[in-house]
Symmetry: C2
Subunit: 166 residues, 2 copies
DNA sequence: TCACGGTCTCACATTGCTGTAACTACTTCG
DNA sequence: CGAAGTAGTTACAGCAATGTGAGACCGTGA
């Protein structure tokens, strides 16, 4: 469609495009979300365009390259089945604890906390299954269950006809 | 923590409690969710009590030990910020591809597919950070972004005053 | 029969969108 | 400059999913 014939992008052209930033419509297309969704995210403070924010009807939003990266990451998380609420928390955190070497890093969300790793173990895992992983240890769950269950089961037995455990 | 003085649960007592099953209220308390939530999940088919389902007002639900395990796992996933919609898919899948050795296994959700592992690599990761992990490779995201961006940026440059790239 | 524990129904709230129409700004043509 | 066209933003309404709370309803045991 867009590729006519000799339409290669030079490094300089890319830089130019990046400096100009991207409109809302363009951004939505690149990221693969609806414009309404992008608008909603901006209005609800999930992510605002860092080059120029909207200021009244008729104004224009301008998204930076970095914004697009974040948006892509957000979409990845959503597609993996993570709640928007959680995504909000994650990016709130990440904006404070700046990430310099994004390409090499991996975001690791462990319950409440957020971390950025490029260590050995996690990279091994990522090389196997690329993208987002959700891992749950059922062993730990089972242990917790037993622990939580004990008092309930005990109370239950107290009400049974013959108490053979006193 | 749990061993008070004389109130120990014997293996047999536990077995007895498990056979009787657990009421809705008990189940909700053990799992750590509201009764309304448990009811909602039953009515919307996320998880129904396997010992006896509700059959008209006044009837009683009875949850098995296995149900509680599932409910615990569900809550873990929700607390980790995973969408209920995704959780539904995961457990739909898991019920078909039965899990025999639950204690040793780990659920791994990778975008669309669900797997149960007890391999070396994943266990290593789990020992570090117990519970649920969400891992995202930003390197891959950046690559995808560049790829998706090229045609858009090219179209943009076509509209600029001087075309030095033809 | 009455109280109690449990379930069911209904109404309502919140979140996360989506669609549409109105409005504003920028661009272009005369 | 001024009018028209286009792109982008805003306001408003509506929808589905996920709950929550109140209260009606039912069955069982005392």
């Amino acid at each position: 469609m867009t590729e006519t014939t000799g339409q290669q992008m030079s490094e300089i052209d890319q830089q130019l495009a990046m400096d100009l930033g991207y409109s809302g419509t363009q951004t939505a297309k690149v990221v693969g979300i609806s414009y309404r969704q992008l608008d909603y995210w901006a209005r609800t403070d999930l992510i605002r365009p860092s080059l120029s924010d909207a200021s009244g009807s008729g104004s224009r939003r301008r998204y930076s390259y970095g914004d697009l990266l974040e948006l892509k990451a957000i979409k990845k998380l959503l597609d993996a089945g993570i709640k928007l609420e959680q995504v909000r928390k994650v990016f709130e955190y990440l904006r404070k604890h700046v990430t310099t070497d994004i390409a090499a890093a991996h975001i690791v969300i462990d319950g409440g906390s957020v971390n950025v790793y490029d260590g050995e173990q996690l990279i091994d895992v990522l090389q196997n299954g690329q993208g987002v992983l959700n891992v749950l240890s059922l062993g730990g769950v089972q242990d917790e269950l037993k622990h939580d269950l004990a008092p309930i089961a005990a109370a239950m037995l107290d009400k049974l006809p013959r108490t053979s455990h006193g």
